[in-house]
């Protein structure tokens, strides 16, 4: 069953790992659309090697996306599901996702689905959305969150943050956080 073992040569193994690490660095800094030449340079290999080893950008992303963002998104989902209060749970989820988007440009490329090809990415995205929908429903049941907010609204709120975070790395983090609270406040029912 373990039909994998065409075992790579030593230099190839070294390069695969080096490229993975370089890709993590570069993608973290500039998102998943960074030029592959840059990754190659950072890894000390030539561009051709990346294509040879990973088949192109898509394959390279698949190889790092787990470590880059999937784990963090899953971590957020796990963390908030331990919260008792449905409203707090919902708001905490949004807060954390929004901050992840600020801190990790690559997360946006995942959440914005700007990479149609990657299967694991699509699945993760799907899952996160479903979770968000459930959190919203629970929070609305308490009456604290407006009931005209839809799951799509939540998706778009995240999507919007992604666009924004991607377009400006310079916005100070504090102000960004403060404004997130305004947005959350706007989702609450008007009847105090």
């Amino acid at each position: 069953m373990t039909a994998d073992p065409p075992r790579l040569r030593a230099d190839a193994r070294r390069n695969v790992e080096g490229i993975r690490l370089a890709a993590l660095d570069v993608f973290r800094a500039n998102g998943l659309n960074s030029p592959l030449d840059e990754v190659a340079r950072a890894a000390g290999v030539s561009k051709g090697t990346i294509y040879h080893r990973f088949g192109g950008r898509q394959g390279l992303i698949d190889a790092v996306v787990e470590e880059l963002v999937a784990e963090r998104i899953k971590g957020i989902i796990t963390a908030v599901s331990a919260i008792e209060d449905p409203v707090e749970r919902f708001e905490s989820y949004l807060r954390q996702i929004w901050l992840l988007q600020y801190d990790e440009p690559a997360a946006n490329d995942v959440l914005l689905r700007s990479l149609p090809g990657s299967e694991p990415v699509a699945a993760l995205c799907e899952h996160a959305n479903e979770v968000a929908g459930n959190l919203l429903g629970d929070a609305q049941a308490t009456g604290v969150i407006r009931d005209d907010v839809t799951a799509e609204d939540v998706y778009l709120l995240i999507w919007e943050r992604g666009i924004i975070a991607r377009s400006c790395a310079q916005q100070p983090r504090d102000g960004y956080r403060r404004r997130l609270e305004y947005t959350l406040r706007g989702l609450r029912s008007t009847a105090c």
Copy 2:
């Protein structure tokens, strides 16, 4: 004093006007960063003519920005200043600017200052900001708008909408408007 009259030749005058019109169309549809080749094609001239007549993108923008967005922004400012209630005035201003951004991608290129060179654009932008700051102050004085909102927050709220509107032309207008109201609600004081 009127030292202008090196009077253009007939074909040149025709082209200048044709290019202006084409630029209005193309810029309206795709923003101020549209390829100049596209403008040229729409005007039925060659790219070189645009460079020759307007000196490049910057000059072309200067030639159309007034008609394209300046008038509309000024119109909004005039319209809201007739509103009595300071809160309504402030919120109405934001609503209208946000809708302008939705309807006119080019407005964003102005408001986002993505065109460092253009002097009239910069002035307009400056002025709009100042107005927004005043409207905010008046609205806060009533106690209805949170007093921790800063003029920069307002600038950024507009900026953010610009980024968003620019990135997705497909968002249905109704949903967009509805979500604007959430945002406005988030700026009101929590003490109902």
